[in-house]
Amino acid sequence: MPSAVPAVGLHRITKRFGDVVAVDTVDLEIADGEFFALLGPSGCGKTTTLRLIAGLEFPTTGRLRIFGDEVGTLPPNRRPVNTVFQNYALFPHMTAEENVAFGLRMRKVSKAEIEPRVRDAIALVHMEGMEQRRPDQLSGGQQQRVALARALVNSPKVLLLDEPLGALDLKLREAMQLELKALQREVGITFVFVTHDQGEALAMSDRIGVMDGGRLLQVGTPEEIYARPANRFVADFIGHANLLDGMVTGPDQVTLTNGITIAAPSNIQPGGHVAVTLRPEQALLHPWGGAPEHHTSVDGQVEQVTYLGNALIYRVSFQWMHIDVRSENRPGGDPVSAGDEVTVSWEPSSVAVVQD
């Protein structure tokens, strides 16, 4: 049974390095058993947040709890968490097996107990037969597995992973995403996973926290973050989005900077500068004037067609603005090419209005 107490609780945590504010008044609760991703561009403070939880940094201000216990000033060796470091940080002078056994040895677990636990951990990450190899005799993917086993063997209450797939090539990374997710379900440990890859975060996480400039901008499920971005940065960072700048000019109505007024529900006061976000796959392309009744639509001209293999991206310009429309590449249907006059439409509920 997952505990009702949050696995990790950050309460107004700030971390400064001299003048740099690496983490800026972050409030965050991560539930027991959750696969939580911290997502953001490089330098946004993800690693620092993770190191604060690990105890490798101490907060400048704020409070940090792990399963309800105040741990803000405890050293790393007295916290029930373990870390998979960005470049694995395996001990080069030890074999894979010795690396995995290290944490148990340091906690003075008896030899009789260490042996089966190390064996189980190595089996968990499918590294049987590699026990006697040193890190430099292992591939990147294998080192990654040893690093995972080295952390998991200690049965931490929370596992912290800093861009663990960042050094792997694409194919392997995709395979490891699935495997890591399955592993997390199997062991039932809370995972806090740092990544700058939004696709990875969407694919793997129960919830995502989006960071920028040290601040936590939005926390939510992948669906929430994708469909209801909290601000312009999140909308732009997650997936591909059309961002149409404008101003709220009435209830549920936005006038775009090119003068066209469209329906866009929001609770922002009239006069507010906003951007209407529309995902390319939510927009539909029709022959001129062929939009369904209840849709919001604009008329324009196809400017460019980009072939993606499984899909096509049509860039449609309308009054100095443009919208990208993504349509699956299916046989049949009228071919549309650059220069054609078209109408773009979408369900009114599929747009989100965001502020900066």
């Binding site: 470091f85 470049n87 940080a89 395996l90 340091m106 292992l138 591939s139």
Partner: protein, 294 residues
Amino acid sequence: MIGGTARPGSVTAWALSGTAWVVYAFFYAPIVLLVVFSFSDDRNVGRWGGFTLSWYEQFIDHSQLQNSLWVSIRVALLSTAISVVLGTLAALALERFRFRGQRVFDALLYLPIIIPDVTMAVMMLLFFSEGIRIAELLFGLDLTKGFTTITISHIAFNISFVSVVVRARLSGMNEQLEEAALDLYANRWRSFRYVTLPQIAPGIAGGALLALTLSLDDVVVTQFASGPGSTTLPVFVFGMIRRGVTPLINAVSVVMLAASIVLVILSLVTQRLRTGETGRSLGDRPRRRSDSSV
């Protein structure tokens, strides 16, 4: 011809290989002569008088030479042991911690490497002549010049060399390894003992061999720090030369040369360990060999 590599048989090739031979001759002819005449049965160095081992027998029987050899070895071992500990600690302090006055400490630590031997020697002389008086006054210590003062002066210059070598090794080490150890429930001491120390061990061994060699070779500083009772082998030999050169000097030199060669070979072996086993650039991206095997 690309990049100026000489064609075999060309004039350039002849000139280059000729030069190489001359340089080798320049290096090794004196050594060969030294070794050859240490077996010559004639009092005059440079005149061959038939083969003998008598100069080596004299060396073994010469109580003053034996005494100074013994002093040399003891000074070398003790000063190396102490400077390895202190030098490593200094290196750790400079690489891993930030403290007030660090820059100054850093600069001062390297001073013994760059100041001339003679200056160092005079410093030591002054230090000991004052130090002995103060030590006697304050602690009742008996610090007459001899074994103790020689050892202290050797420690003084060896610390610098050891810390330079160890620091180079430390700065090449991935600091995240220590963090990983802390994360895996090691305290600071155990993280040092099980992670840092094995990583810098080749550096420490290299530093120790360097210290040993420097201590065994030193003449200038030792001359100022040694007293009438005890002195090291190189200083004693230096004194003997002034009284006239016999092949006995050659025999002693050959023994010293042999010792140096052994040390050099040992240091090469540790170098190999350094590059072979643990000395990779640890901060690098892990190498991929067979990622597809996953």
